[in-house]
Symmetry: C2
Amino acid sequence: MNQPLTFDLLKTDPSGARRGRMTTAHGVIETPIFMPVGTAAAMKALTPAQVGEAGAQIILSNAYHLENQPGSELIEKLGGIHKFMNWNGPILTDSGGYQVFSLDKKTVHEDGVTFRYSKGGQEVKLNPELSMAIQNRLGADIIMAFDECVEFPTTHTYARESLERTLRWAKRCKAAHQNPNQALFGISQGALYEDLRKRSFEGLIELDFPGYAIGGLSVGEGLEHMKRALDFTTPLMPVEKPRYLMGIGLPEDIIEAIERGIDMMDCVIPTKFARSGVLFTHVGRIRVTDTKFRRDKFPVDTNCDCYCCKNYSRAYLHHLFAGNEILGATLTSIHNVHFYMNLTAKIRDAIEQGEFLKFKGEFLETYQRAEGKKQKSSRPR
Amino acid sequence: MNQPLTFDLLKTDPSGARRGRMTTAHGVIETPIFMPVGTAAAMKALTPAQVGEAGAQIILSNAYHLENQPGSELIEKLGGIHKFMNWNGPILTDSGGYQVFSLDKKTVHEDGVTFRYSKGGQEVKLNPELSMAIQNRLGADIIMAFDECVEFPTTHTYARESLERTLRWAKRCKAAHQNPNQALFGISQGALYEDLRKRSFEGLIELDFPGYAIGGLSVGEGLEHMKRALDFTTPLMPVEKPRYLMGIGLPEDIIEAIERGIDMMDCVIPTKFARSGVLFTHVGRIRVTDTKFRRDKFPVDTNCDCYCCKNYSRAYLHHLFAGNEILGATLTSIHNVHFYMNLTAKIRDAIEQGEFLKFKGEFLETYQRAEGKKQKSSRPR
């Protein structure tokens, strides 16, 4: 393969939803796709075998966390991230921009950012060149430019200043990126300002990345703002390149993003919610720790054929959580990851049939009827 | 099947070690066998699929804990313990005698024992009839008589008084046991006193149980006392019935017990040690959290073909424990259970070849050379 990543746009639904196929050194990814997050080169509570059985095609890990522990040099020495964590499919590493900028105390300057990994820890500098060196050593199939993710809300003035710096960083990332087996994606910033997103993509496209991400959303703006931002942002993105919306989200967020032409998403929601007993079903979310499930003989979702639903009752899961049994986190994580993988598989089928909006209507009708108005979009990352 | 359990003694090694085969309603168990413990109808950090892959033939669960949460009536209503926990192989439930008598505050009387599950909790009575009703509802293949497990050390006077009561309880258990698909084992007591063990087995054998257990060992007496007690106890046991030594142990304990004619053992050690990063290898134990393993590219045990050893370095496991990743407990538990299952499988082969003592010598030579004198027998349960 001459390029580390190719993208074939197979079909575009009348709605705008896209059906594509990415090819990486570690395998093919059918899009649109949701990427489960294994922050520290480990999916929480799941073996790679279980992640694969749940249907995951690509997983996301985090350069920021891995550089802190155990260090990218060690992972490189041990054969790279795929071998280290025993996941032989595609992997994407985030640069650490989001994590650094979530810290209370950090100093942003033209070269990069200065911060501490923990309270009282040593001061660390991260800049585009270091982020590329770290991600080159880790060896994921897709790596991300080092960007500044501004918080919500932010002023137009700061957002503009920040995105111009992020563009200069993107250029430095591109120059520093040394591993020809990895595809480096550019990240757009600009908050919720249409003119800034336009400027951001003008600058990024000039640098010609093999894929583009939308950063700076899923930072607390809510679903309606996100939809509006996508409405004016995805048309700015090259048609022939994969489009990655970072840090999204709930099932309803995913559907809205795909309708607006997004190909890739990631979020900790399925696994994080699972560990607190919150499970996704085709009729909405349930919290299996609720007393009403103590004697419930039914599986989490009667429509689901995952290992958890084929073999266990809600009463058993309730029992595991009551006893703080680790197995509870494993079984619920299997289910939630499977739910997300199954949802995106069905969406891909619907796009192929040219029936994305029909699927969306039917899915949300059932999912939200039971769900009611009780939930708002909330996207921890 | 007319009987809930049959036992065929296939071969007796010159050393005294026995190779047998038990048949239960849920499958065949090749003995000698070690039974991993899933106290609350869940193997800690492992799915039943992983427990099966690690080679387990039968697992142990605990009536005392299950009656407290979620209750045997609920488990019966949901189809019994096999269906509840999705383990379709043989299961043994302990009666709760050991657990009740480990409590600081309990009152023993002729009818049974009174205690509280937790500080400030409601007072609960447990007696032979209730223990049988609970275990009948749970539906394990092998169930245990309700006994008093006296602490170590204990006086001859108290041990005698207690074992006579335990014999009266054994008779009541036998009379109360109602489920013809379950085999009820009698439990011998008598501490380290030879005359009392003799009396205990006279009384039990009169009641004609399909299998007999040795209780009251692994309570802190140490390996030498245990060996001596087994030396005079196993000859008291019927040759044609399975012999179960409760709560044992470390690999060296298991080997000594098998040499003395024991067929079945159980202990939390493999899974409990795994969760704190202590791993068994053919050259002794290692603590993978030790700094020296931070950069170690080798598997836990180069001689092992479990999922953990085939796919992961010690450095990766060290990394998982450093980050408190649940996956660490899962992978180390897979390894330790596999180690115990592999050890007993090799012992069975050695007995078949009439070479048990040769195997014992070679195993301990390698295992203890690296292990040195650093460890004493210690058997949490």
